[in-house]
């Protein structure tokens, strides 16, 4: 069993090596015309509503759900180091709010090492959310989303 405090702080890290130059990877990750091509799960449509690609700038993507509601991904860029690093806050409504996403792009001999992390809110934030009864809603949101994704 992994250390639970760690699970709750840092939900996951995904590392990949792309056989593609960093500049290309960076563009595919940051340009709206590219984002719409890969962000949404298969079969879902995504709309880039807001894309202020600068520190303090907001981004917002929406995906319509069959029940008429929207699944919203949004955040504020906290750090941008072209073409190496992006740190942004992120909310995924109605699933989870207040996470930090960090993406690193490292060039190595024409290849790109890509590290993606989702960092969970601070303990203080968790405590606040607990008081609001927020955690109780998570499970059912996942069931809904899974059903919707058909997985």
């Amino acid at each position: 069993m992994e250390n639970l405090s760690e699970i709750s702080k840092r939900i996951l890290t995904i590392k990949k090596t792309f056989n593609v130059p960093r500049k290309k990877i960076w563009e595919a990750w940051t340009k709206p015309e590219h984002i719409v091509q890969w962000w949404a799960p298969p079969g879902m449509k995504i709309k880039v509503v807001q894309h202020e690609f600068k520190v303090g700038g907001k981004w917002k993507y929406t995906m319509p759900m069959p029940d008429g509601n929207e699944f919203i991904s949004e955040g504020v860029y906290e750090e941008i180091v072209v073409p190496e690093k992006i740190v942004t806050s992120a909310n995924f409504k109605p699933m989870t709010e207040g996470v930090t996403i960090q993406v690193l792009f490292e060039e190595k001999g024409g290849k790109t090492n890509f590290t993606f992390s989702v960092i969970h809110p601070t303990e203080e934030y968790c405590r606040q959310q607990e008081q609001m009864g927020f955690y109780n809603g998570w499970g059912s949101s996942f069931v809904r989303l899974e059903k919707f994704l058909g997985s």
Binding site: M1, V20, E123, N136
Partner: protein, 117 residues
């Protein structure tokens, strides 16, 4: 709806003290006194947290004489790991989809430049 009726494992891990208690108990069963020694807060406060963990189904409490023994309930603990991995799956799919897209882009570009067949 009262909060009590909605206790679950995710509420259990929402609090740092409770997470530390879970960490301690996941290594070995402990009595209340030993658990309290790891914390600066009072024993009744620890006792209260353990009560919540018990209500969330994560910790089993047995009394032997004047001693209170606490042990972890692994099946409930597993729900957290399962949940975390479900969450991961969504991101893994998205990153896979990004990878596929980037590779497609790159291949197209190379074709245009005559770098590959």
């Amino acid at each position: 709806m009262t909060i009590e009726s909605r206790r679950d494992v995710f509420q259990a891990i929402a609090d740092p003290t409770r997470r530390k208690i879970i960490d301690l108990l996941s290594k070995q069963p402990l009595n209340l006194k030993s658990i309290a020694e790891y914390f600066d807060i009072s024993r009744p406060a620890i006792s209260q947290q353990i009560k919540i963990l018990n209500e969330c189904g994560l910790v089993d409490i047995t009394r032997a004489g004047r001693e209170t023994f606490c042990s972890i309930q692994p099946t409930e603990l597993k729900k957290i790991a399962d949940w975390a991995s479900r969450y991961s799956v969504l991101w893994e799919q998205r990153i896979d989809s990004f990878e596929a897209y980037v590779n497609t882009l790159h291949t197209k570009k190379n074709k245009k430049n005559g770098k590959s067949k």
